[in-house]
Amino acid sequence: MEKGKGLARRWAVEFAENSYSSSPVDVPDPMGFSRSSSDPDDASASRQKKEAEAAWKAQKAWEVAQAPVKNLLMMGFMMWMAGSTVHLFSIGITFSALWQPISALQGVGKVFEPYKDPRVDTLAPKLLFIALNLAGLVLGIWKLNTLGLLPTHASDWVSSLPPASEVEYAGGGLPVH
């Protein structure tokens, strides 16, 4: 996947440089030369190529969007392995389960950047990606809750309260002897 991405980019970059050389040089086009009316064979070939690329990009974007499913399943398995008592292993798993979706959500733009294309609609894959990661986050939070680490009970808020002070003071007792 990585390799393909790199290849596509290199190829696209080279191609773009040739096609869009919108006069970086100050030499005007020769008379009678129309850039748009270039070779029709060439034009159709490039359009086809572009379409194929767009389709490929869209497909790749969907693939990337669905990737968290695997992660989700894996996390679920790990959580089941960790059990519901608080110890290093379960805490580690839970926190990684929380961290992965969050970091993925933060980098949504970056993940879909290679597939950015005017002809490719990346919104739907992005939404799917976000939804799946949110599901992962919910799973992590649910795990956190089963571990009892979420302050959802009255006890979590009360235990930090100091005892109430007393208005009255009483001393005395048995006579000192």
Binding site: W157, V158, L161, V167, E168, A170, G171, G173, P175, V176
Partner: protein, 983 residues
Amino acid sequence: MAIRACLGLMILLVFSSTISTALFEDQVGLADWHQKYIGKVKHAIFHTQKTGRKRVVVSTEENVVASLDLRTGDIFWRHVLGKIDRIDQVDITLGKYVVTLSSGGSILRAWNLPDGQMIWESILQVSAPSKSLLHVPANMNVGKDNLILVFGGSSIHALSSTDGQIVWRKELSTNSLEIQQVFQPHESDIIYALGFIGSSEFVAYYVNYKTGEVLQQSKASFKSGFCGEASLASDDVVVALDASRTYLVSISFRNGVINFQQIYIPDLIPEFSGKATLLPSKYNGILAVDIASSIVLLRVKGVNELEIIEKINYPSAISDALPLSKEQQAFAILQHDESRIHFKVKFDTDLTSEVLKETIQMYGQRGNIEKVFINNYMRTDRTHGFRVLVVMEDHSLLLVQQGEIVWSREDGLASIVDSTTSELPVEKEGVSVAEVEHSLFEWLKGHFLKLKGTLMLASPDEVAAIQAIRLKSFEKNKMTRDHNGFRKLIIVLTRAGKVLALHTGDGRVVWSVLLPVLRKSETCGNPFALNVYQWQVPHHHAMHENPSVLVVGRCGHNFDAPGIFSIVDAYTGKVHNSLVLEHSVRHIMPFPLTDSTEQHLHIVIDDNLHAHLYPKTSDSVKIFLDEMPNIYWYSVEVGKNIIKGYSLEIKGEQDMAENVFQPKELWSIVFPCESETIALTATRKMNEIVHTQAKIVADQDVMYKYISKNILFVATVAPKASGEIGSATPEEAWLYAYLIDTVSGRILHRVSHQGAQGPIHAVVSENWVVYHYFNLRAHRHEMSVIEIYDQSREDNKDVWKLVLGKHNLTAPISSYSKPEVTVKSQSYFFTHSVKSMAVTATAKGITSKQLLIGTIGDQVLALDKRFLDPRRSVNPTQSEKEEGIIPLTDSLPIVPQSYVTHALQVEGLRGIVTTPAKLESTTLVFSYGVDLFFTRIAPSRTYDSLTEDFSYALLLLTIVALVAALLVTWALSEKKELREKWR
């Protein structure tokens, strides 16, 4: 699943190290110290005749019989008899047994002199405990079975000194007989026993030593009566004092004919006034009389002829006579002259000249000499040398020989009355560099040794050196405050009126002061020490001032006797202020309030129930008047079976001017006399800190503790069962436990235990009470716990309200709001009977609690509060197990490793005091009795610090090794990369 189980097991192994809090053998003495004492010496018998170890056998007021090394003052052996087993007399028989007579002449025991093992014990039938005398014949004929005579009550017992068998017993068939003197003229088989019957009749018995036959008996009555003191002047003359203590009565009893002769003391000693006392001494023809200002030595020339030999001015002391030969006796006179003591020895044959005269310089505050015991030794030139054992006013014991104090023992510490703690001064800046370098080098050396020990490379010598370094750690004995709060001063008040500061590091006495106001004086005849309180604990405003403690005493044993106040600097022992109060001291209430100089406000309630405020500054009065409407006090009157609650009020101008407050009775609780008598009361410690008001139970549920400082626990027992265990049947014994709010007088809870009786011990902490008593039905001791919860706060369970702070849980509460309470309780069997109980206290109150139980074996046992949890059940649910609830068992377990005192005994244990250290996990424990023991314990282990024996050197070494490895691998990788690039 298998993987999960395996993982679980691994994690369990990692996270649950051993639960036990016991310590290893080499940890003994690191944090704890133990000091052995004997108490104020009453009798001393020297044993120096034989070559070998010279020793002195002593018996003390703490009922200790001990054998001390005469060279060093160390204890060879020691036995602490029970609290009620008072030692009457001690002697040595057959040259190898120490004989003690105790319990009013009813128990005679023989101990082996070299090692202190008991040889035999005899219980004597004595009609009534009375003054008893032990007579051990001095004739040391080997092979002859010496008889020991015991005169007690109206009977004479003769016991074989080899096995303690009663050889004969003679009933003298007269009631209220008190034998005063017993003696045996040389080489005779007849024992003379002289005494008084009632207060006016003198009686002399002649008893056959072998058979107990009364050979002759003569009586005569004296009309003005005797005061009960008599001194033997010679073989046939006894001198007694009459009932008014102004006449000396010389009684001659030759051949059974009794003659009285009265001598008016002022005729003899013109400056005499007041009352005289006879000093118990056995001299040939010499009498020592103590008149108020001096000791007078009189020679008995004939029946009616007395002659003054010498007057010794106070303060002074005189010893018993020491027979040197048949005709010659020696005695010692010790006389005070400010810080010096003049020590004189005289022979009774020549009273005008002194055999020995020495002057001893006294250091420290020890007061006057109370008792002197003399002993002699042979010098190399065959003349007599003398040494004296001196008991001082502060109960310390000194040995004086050749003008020097050879050794001294601070035995006043065996009778601690009360104690408190004080912080040490803060460490000053600017310690010299050399000192630091030295200590750094030492530190490194120590850690290097420790490292060797950890890596098992140390030789036995080095192991010993490591142990020595650990024990004599410079750190723990410093005189400055430490980060963990382990170093403190324990300030103790002894019965003698001496205040001593002990360092928690090694138990040494930092300073000591014998309080002048607690010494006998004209204004205060019989003063005694009561309590010690924190007076000034500077931490904000008066930082430059030293903290001070308040010592409270009383002039005499009645409640109406005037009180004594003394304020002592906690760092130096300097007495800042001391005064005899104009009023008595019945209750003292220290307040958490302080005035502008950080002096704690104290209210003293006198015998007329008036309240007096101290310190008497306008500042403190102002602060107090602001708080006065909320201040209450209560009085427990055991004799009347009543508890009364009062508030304070000001009546009239005079009270206002003198800062005297009148009592206003608010409530009273009267216990029915026919069914209940108050046996015990207990309250929470004033300075106890509670971390939280909520108790989280299984399934995240919350219970609100009823935390009030004004809870009083009262235990009452049936009047019939108020005696010893076994004095009542289970049907007529019961025990009621009350929880009373002392502000409003409301009884929060009452529970009855049928068939239970005292002695009761209780401890109150946070929202619970634990008490210990005897169950007559089960024939076992029991411990019960009561936990009290606030029902009125129970509905504070809405999370959102709590998140937003819309609750009233931290609002101040008043006892008059009468919160509803619920109570949970449970009882368990407990194996030991208990001498004292306390509970651990930590700085923030987060750490779980342990009960400290002083057992009958004089040890301190730590018992987790978790064992005394009323929510224990036989089969706890999973969530309860997770919470840490232990399945219910009928008796509390005693884990041998949880003895705080490990292998040691705190003989005569009387009190356990806990003080929080700065480190939250740790409590300092000081227990006292005849012995002192100090240690620090961590009820939930030291979760907040590394252990003492943590190897910093190993850590350092590991870090260094890691860094080195990092550098090496980095260099290697650089090199390799370079090579790659050149390729």
